[in-house]
Structure formats: structure tokens, C-alpha cells
């Protein structure tokens, strides 16, 4: 079967990619996508542990994470669209209304 360290390793790598994406990219939508990558890495860890411990609680939690992520994406994208209407840009560097 699939050894637990392998799945956890993949989860760690994807999580790191998500973190790098949030820090490196300036486009709000790509930052959002990196956040989704991080959430999915956590989901993978949950499912891997559910499998290795023989309990289903991990999968139930993944179900909840997915639902909340869907709600969060919807609200976040609505905010980004509104922000775009106001400032004509999605680059987080230029969205500095409170600055100065």
C-alpha cells in the first residue's frame, strides 16, 4: 500500500508551493489560488491519516474543509470583483487605499 510518509511528503511539498505562491505573486487571484493549494495539501494530509489510522474522521473533516473553502472562495471573489470596480486593478501592491 502507499506508505504514509510519502503522502505526507507530497502534502508538505504542495503546501510549501502554496506558501511560496502567496508570498511571491502579486495578482490577487493567483494568491487566492495558492491559498486553495494550501487547503488541498491539508486535505491530503487528513485523508492520508484517515487511511493509516483506519478511522473515517479525517474524511469527514475534509468534507467540511471543502465546503468552507467553497464558501470562502465565493465571498473572496466577490470582494475582489468589487475591489476591481473601485481601483481598476487586481495587483495587491496597488491596492493601498489606507496608506499615507
Amino acid at each position: 500500500m502507499i506508505p504514509l510518509p510519502w503522502t505526507l511528503g507530497v502534502s508538505a511539498v504542495v503546501f510549501t508551493l502554496g506558501v511560496v505562491g502567496v508570498l511571491v505573486r502579486r495578482n490577487a487571484l493567483v494568491i487566492f489560488m495558492s491559498i486553495e493549494l494550501m487547503l488541498n495539501a491539508a486535505n491530503l494530509a487528513f485523508v492520508a491519516f484517515a487511511r493509516s489510522m483506519g478511522s473515517l474522521d479525517g474524511q469527514v473533516f475534509v468534507f467540511f474543509v471543502m465546503t468552507v473553502a467553497a464558501a470562502e472562495v465565493a465571498v473572496g471573489l466577490a470582494i475582489i470583483v468589487n475591489l476591481f470596480r473601485l481601483r481598476e486593478t487586481v495587483f495587491v501592491d496597488e491596492i493601498n487605499l489606507l496608506k499615507g
Binding site: 503522502t7 485523508v47 484517515a50
Partner: protein, 173 residues
């Protein structure tokens, strides 16, 4: 064979994840993210979580990413062109933070913190299927979070409509 499949899908996941954060065009990033989600769903199937794997495709790849693509097309975003020393500096720091995180992960694995239980045998096959078992858990032990999740979705729906409408001219702030 499942090990080979796992390695293949994991490589696809990591590769598409990398391309998500590297590509300049947001639409291409979104499409690679869809690919990442689909390979993740395949990994879930290999780990015996069939219900979660299918729900991953239905919810993440089929709904959330469609929403992303809608917004990207609606905002008519072009390639990201970012120049300048400041940005290069921030980028360097971002990659450094990622490297630190990766080093931490390697350290944890070297110390054997991710090994899990001694045997790598799959759990004993239960008489009921995966979906039924998840459903039983959801409706008995996790009933309260389940109901709260429905409230979260309702609030999100109302919130999106309110936020998305924007401010009308002539309406009080």
C-alpha cells in the same frame, strides 16, 4: 501498481502546483490548478476515499475553479507584467520562506515524525462502503458541524449577493 500510480499522480500534482505559481497568465494558472485538483482526486481514490475524491472533482474542479475562471474572464486580466528591484527582492524573500518551510519538513521527516503506525497494511475492509460510512459519521457524530456548515453556506450566499451588488448611486453609505 498502486504505488506506481501514486507516484505518477503525485508528480502531476506537484508539477501542476509549481506551474500554477510560476505562470504569468492567470487563466493558465487556473487551468493548471484544475489539473492539480484532478490528480489530487486520483490520489484520494488510491487512498480509498472514493466519496471524497468524487466530491473533490464536483466541488473544487467543477464549481470553485469555474467561478475563478468566470471572474478572470469577466475582469479581462492579461499577463502579469511585474518588473523592478523591489519586486525581485520580495520574490527572493518569498522563495526563501518557502525554502525554510521545506527545510522544516525535511527535518521532521528525518526525525521520523511522519511515520505513523507500525504496520502499513490497509485497514480491514468494512462491510459498508465508503460513502455510507462517511454518511453515517456525518449524520451521527458530526451532526452539529454539518448543520453549522449549512449556515456558513447560507451566510456566504447572502454575503456574495450583497458584496457583489456594489454600492448604488444615491443610496446611503
Amino acid at each position: 501498481m498502486s504505488l506506481t500510480l501514486f507516484v505518477a499522480f503525485a508528480a502531476m500534482l506537484v508539477g501542476s502546483g509549481l506551474l500554477v505559481i510560476l505562470h504569468k497568465n492567470p487563466v493558465t494558472s487556473a487551468l493548471f490548478l484544475v489539473l492539480a485538483f484532478c490528480s489530487l482526486a486520483a490520489i484520494y481514490l488510491l487512498l480509498g476515499a472514493e466519496f471524497i475524491g468524487m466530491v473533490q472533482i464536483i466541488v473544487y474542479a467543477g464549481a470553485i475553479m469555474v467561478l475563478f475562471l468566470f471572474v478572470i474572464m469577466y475582469l479581462n486580466l492579461q499577463h502579469d507584467v511585474e518588473r523592478g528591484v523591489q519586486i525581485a527582492l520580495r520574490r527572493g524573500l518569498g522563495w526563501l520562506a518557502g525554502a525554510v518551510l521545506a527545510a522544516e519538513a525535511v527535518l521532521l521527516f528525518a526525525r521520523g515524525w511522519g511515520v505513523g503506525p507500525a504496520s502499513t497494511e490497509p485497514p480491514p475492509a468494512v462491510a459498508i462502503g465508503n460513502t455510507q460510512a462517511v454518511g453515517l459519521a456525518l449524520y451521527t457524530r458530526y451532526l452539529f458541524p454539518f448543520e453549522i456548515t449549512s449556515m456558513i453556506l447560507l451566510v456566504a450566499m447572502v454575503g456574495v449577493i450583497v458584496v457583489g451588488k456594489g454600492r448604488q448611486r444615491g443610496e446611503g453609505a
